[in-house]
């Protein structure tokens, strides 16, 4: 299943003056950290040190990274389980992410929830709602609040091919469009809704088409494996939403390189397609190839070493954290403590 791209084979990301050298290096750090944290979490899971399951964003790292990076400091977002890089871009640390996977007492959810099911209120990151698609109306509500208060802020969320077929997405999109709220929807077109291919999910597989034609929300389609192109598309959408043009959508086309989660080996997926994507369109290696062409090969090496260190020290810090105290089991559930 794991098909690591050989260095030098990946197609470089596009070149554009709109995305500076600083932006490119920042995005590289984010996609790399996302990849390395998930690889480490996968190992912890197989060692029985992470309960439940592990849902990765392998192959889609550039989308969450670009979205989190493109948002302004006062904007809010609701990342899902394949957008760890978005959390990191908003200021969540590697130690905080590991603490949540390990269910530690000082984790973002204080051990109440695990995996990617956490938010970071101080960074404007909403916690994940497990029923995918449900975050659409949530961010539409946040965006409506911003509009009513006349604040120049944007609310952004993601969903995938599967959630696109849920009712709450329809309700949220419709309301966002008629109320013209500053919301941005990132549609993760990764080819799969769990084990159902897009072709068996929808008659028109172009989600951007459907959002623009069906709900009247401007939508663009971008290669989600290209961090530079994705950042340009998201910056445009976010700024249009902020300037009063109403909700915007960006469909990021990628491929999910892992199964749905750690308990799914993805054996039903087209192995040749996976290999081709991993070799040519791995988002981490595409950006590395771009940076090498930019003359930043040395910086790529430095960032790789720094990211590996950041992951190791983050895990070390998380492992040193205390387990949650069973006596606190009802804390945070009720405003008034039950007896």
């Amino acid at each position: 299943m794991r098909t690591d791209a050989g260095a030098g084979e990946a197609l470089p990301c596009e070149d554009s003056g709109e995305v500076t050298r600083e932006d490119r290096l920042a995005l590289f750090r984010l996609v790399l950290l996302h990849r390395l944290i998930e690889e480490r979490v996968g190992l912890l899971y197989r060692q029985g040190r992470v309960s439940g399951s592990v849902y990765t964003g392998r192959g889609q790292e550039a989308v969450g990274a670009a979205a989190g990076y493109a948002l302004g400091p006062d904007d809010v977002c609701a990342p899902l389980n394949r957008e760890l890089a978005c959390h990191l871009a908003r200021g969540v640390t590697t130690a905080e992410a590991f603490r949540n996977f390990l269910g530690k007492g000082d984790s973002p959810t204080r051990g109440r929830d695990g995996n990617m099911h956490f938010g970071a209120r101080e960074h404007g990151v909403f916690p994940l709602v497990s029923m995918l698609g449900d975050l659409c109306p949530v961010v539409v509500g946040a965006a409506l609040a911003f509009k009513r208060r006349r604040e120049p802020r944007v609310a952004l969320t993601f969903w995938g091919d599967g959630a696109m077929s849920t009712g709450d997405v329809h309700e949220g999109l419709n309301l966002a469009a008629v109320l013209k709220v500053p919301a941005v929807f990132v549609l993760q077109s990764n080819g799969w809704a769990y084990s159902t291919p897009t072709s068996r999910q929808m008659m028109n597989p172009c989600m951007a088409d459907r959002v623009e034609g069906g709900w009247g929300i401007p939508a663009t389609r971008v290669d989600g494996s290209d961090a530079v192109a994705t950042l340009i598309a998201l910056r445009g959408a976010i700024e249009r939403a902020r300037s009063g043009d109403g909700p915007q959508a960006v469909e990021a086309v990628t491929l999910r390189l892992d199964g749905h989660a750690a308990h799914d080996d993805g054996s039903y997926m087209d192995q040749a397609q996976l290999t081709e994507y991993a070799e040519q369109r791995d988002p981490v290696e595409r950006l590395a190839a771009r940076l090498r062409l930019d003359g930043l090969a040395e910086e790529v090496g430095v960032l790789r070493a720094a990211a590996a260190d950041e992951v190791s020290s983050g895990l070390e810090a998380a492992e040193a954290s205390p387990a949650p105290d069973p006596a606190t089991i009802l804390d945070g559930v009720y405003a008034t403590k039950l007896t």
């Binding site: 439940g52 269910g103 530690k104 007492g105 051990g111 109440r112 929830d113 069973p326 089991i329 009802l330």
Partner: protein
């Protein structure tokens, strides 16, 4: 919870006669078996893994209150998980599910009433 209940009964062997009734199904609910057992012991503890605010225990307690009231020598006892979402961390999950120690302690309290 059947395993916990059986182990609690063994733990209390020298102190009390504990009868364990595994309902197997909640619908149909075997009301006759519940009331017959209550008739023999006159005390009842309903044990369930779900939160005390939900689950089949409510139906069992309702049946006991309506049809077994005169058989009771002590208020019926409910031992269940707290009214909170099931937590993720193993340390919290262990504290959430009724433990053998907790069941034994509650049964002692019921017997002493």
């Amino acid at each position: 919870m059947v395993d916990i209940a059986l182990r609690a009964a063994v733990a209390l062997e020298d102190e009390a006669s504990v009868e364990v009734l595994d309902l197997r199904t909640v619908w149909p609910l075997d009301g006759d078996a519940i009331l017959e057992s209550l008739g023999r012991t006159s005390r009842v503890c309903v044990l369930q893994e779900a939160s005390s605010s939900i689950g089949a225990a409510g139906s069992v307690l309702s049946l006991i209150a309506q049809e077994g009231f005169e058989l009771l020598d002590a208020p019926p006892l409910l031992v269940a998980a707290p009214i909170a979402p099931v937590p993720f961390a193993p340390e919290l999950e262990d504290a959430y599910i009724p433990s053998l120690e907790r069941v034994v302690e509650e049964l002692r309290r019921l017997g002493a009433y």
